[in-house]
Assembly symmetry: C2
Homo-oligomer: 334 residues x 2
């Protein structure tokens, strides 16, 4: 049997209002009545309907989360951080996987709008006009992770992508490499795409190294695109000795490509990645890369959403997390 608040009230011989007060600790209730109500609640295993509660309280305790690719370990870690933090604070996550398709993403945004979520955490690679338009319809807090734009009004959780890319390339230079290529992400992705590429340029410039256009390839963060970009690089007459990849997956793809062509990493080519996904440690050879804590970023995103929900005074415009270089086996001193 499924009980409702009226049943409980009757069984306890009190009014619905009193039951509600006991359940929510919203108003003082005498100890005697309180325990009587709790007794009945326990006996009947009564669970108040979140639905009805949401309808009258105007909050769903649901946070929408949009990710472009749930099978990408980067996002599953972010989600994990979001989820654990949400759970702690009594929120739940409505997860939407856009599969890298803009229209799926817009559809989901529409769904989330109808579901009357309390807040939205947006993860993605690029911010399109349609997206901006849609986001305007949300009258709830929105936070972005790993992506953002100058004029955005939404708080952003990120790392210093420019600096991190610069660190990676500087490390290669310090290891004696002078001909350094890069496989970067889409440049319409303002953070991981554009800034990492700029960090690369800056490091070359700071060390008076020339930019060789052919050494620079654009990928889409997938393993396969790393493979393909590396194929292009290997077909050059003059080749780089080291390649900086804007994420670990492209780095793995590049390594696989190098191996398939009969060369060795790092003996023939040095590779440095970005993100430090689990695979980078397990791959053989294990990948030298830039590490960032996606879990913590997810956590931060959720915290910011909650403080916005609480109408806290100080809402950060952005939160910049740390990164560090993890040296493993794919970069050789020359």
């Amino acid at each position: 049997m499924k009980y409702n608040i009226t049943d409980i009230a009757k069984l306890a011989g009190v009014s619905k209002a009193t039951v509600s007060r006991v359940l929510n600790n919203s108003k003082p209730v005498s100890d005697e009545i309180r325990s009587r109500v709790l007794e009945v609640v326990k006996e009947t295993n009564f669970k108040p309907s979140q639905l009805a509660r949401s309808l009258s309280s105007k909050q769903t305790k649901l946070i929408g989360v949009i990710v472009p690719d749930i099978s990408n370990p980067v996002f599953s870690q972010i989600i994990n951080g979001i989820e654990v933090e949400a759970y702690k604070k009594g929120y739940n996550v409505l997860l939407c996987n856009s599969n890298n398709k803009e229209d799926t993403e817009l559809n989901y945004l529409e769904v989330l709008l109808n579901k009357e979520i309390d807040g939205l955490i947006y993860n993605g690679f690029k911010i399109t006009d349609n997206l901006k338009l849609k986001l305007k319809e949300f009258h709830v807090p929105v936070v972005m992770t790993g992506i953002g734009e100058e004029q955005s009004n939404f708080p952003v959780i990120k790392i210093d992508n420019f600096k991190a890319a610069n660190d990676a390339v500087s490390f290669l230079i310090q290891k004696g490499h002078k001909k350094i290529g890069m496989i970067h992400g889409p440049v319409n992705d303002p953070l991981s795409g554009k800034l990492r590429l700029e960090g690369y340029y800056q490091a070359l410039k700071d060390n008076n190294l020339e930019v060789e256009k052919n050494f620079i390839q654009e990928g889409n963060y997938k393993i396969s695109s790393g493979y393909k970009s590396m194929t292009n690089i290997l077909s050059l007459v003059e080749k780089p000795t080291a390649i900086f990849c804007a994420n670990d997956e492209m780095a793995i793809g590049a390594i696989k490509c190098i191996i398939d062509h009969g060369y060795k990493v790092p003996n023939d080519y040095s590779i440095i990645g970005f993100d430090n996904i689990e695979l980078s440690e397990i791959y053989s050879p294990s990948l030298t890369t830039i590490s960032q804590s996606f879990y913590n970023e997810g956590e931060s995103a959720m915290r910011v959403i909650i403080s916005m929900l609480n109408k806290d005074k100080h809402i950060p415009k952005e939160i910049v997390h740390d990164h560090k270089l993890i040296e493993r086996e794919t970069v050789k001193k020359i």
Copy 2:
């Protein structure tokens, strides 16, 4: 401004009921009134509250999904299948990641109960008594994927694990291997754990090969446990020439371990995995394994839930998907 159905009714000069009928196509409405209502809906950009709708219609259009590990590619593929199918049918997924912790799982089940989901898809490794108890409280359809038990009343989506394991081991035997080890999963996992182990035994038996207890190690499906189990095997005086791993991650761990000990795959040891996750193709050497389509399994799970929701006559007790052996680089003929 946020409109509600009453506003729309007033603006269109009709009753709320009529607006509702237009929006849901639930009852005939004259063309003229219909278009007048739709006009207003468009102008106001009105979105009916799912919340209120759910409260009065007694369905939330929400399907709860429990997974033990969202960063495990197996589950992210299943989720993908579930999600795409759900979306097609107008449902949404409330995803809960238990992180392999039983109490987190039980907590989430409780949350889902309160959220009044329309159905539940359970993914996990083992079915505990607490879980069974909790599941009893659900008065909505429940489907399981990749797990199940004899006496369960819930439909199960799976592959023929016994046959698949048998195929894998038979393949090794056919390649000339006689000393074959196995790294299996927890045996209290009735499908992937127990049945894959039994398939292994059966293949040995069918070929009159002896079971060598030391060749058999138990892992927990993680890369690290494959590594550890392989360490044990390598420490034996007499070693197997091939190892069947109950999933790809343990297989990768085992390979990494072999390489770290200065041996080669498949020259010194042959390895066969199970699941055909993306990594198995990318790893170097690429992994020979048993492939199954997790995406399709997720899709099936959602379809079964929906037909249960529709109270279809014929609800399958179980759906068995195909598997196949993918030969790559980790098994050598001897």
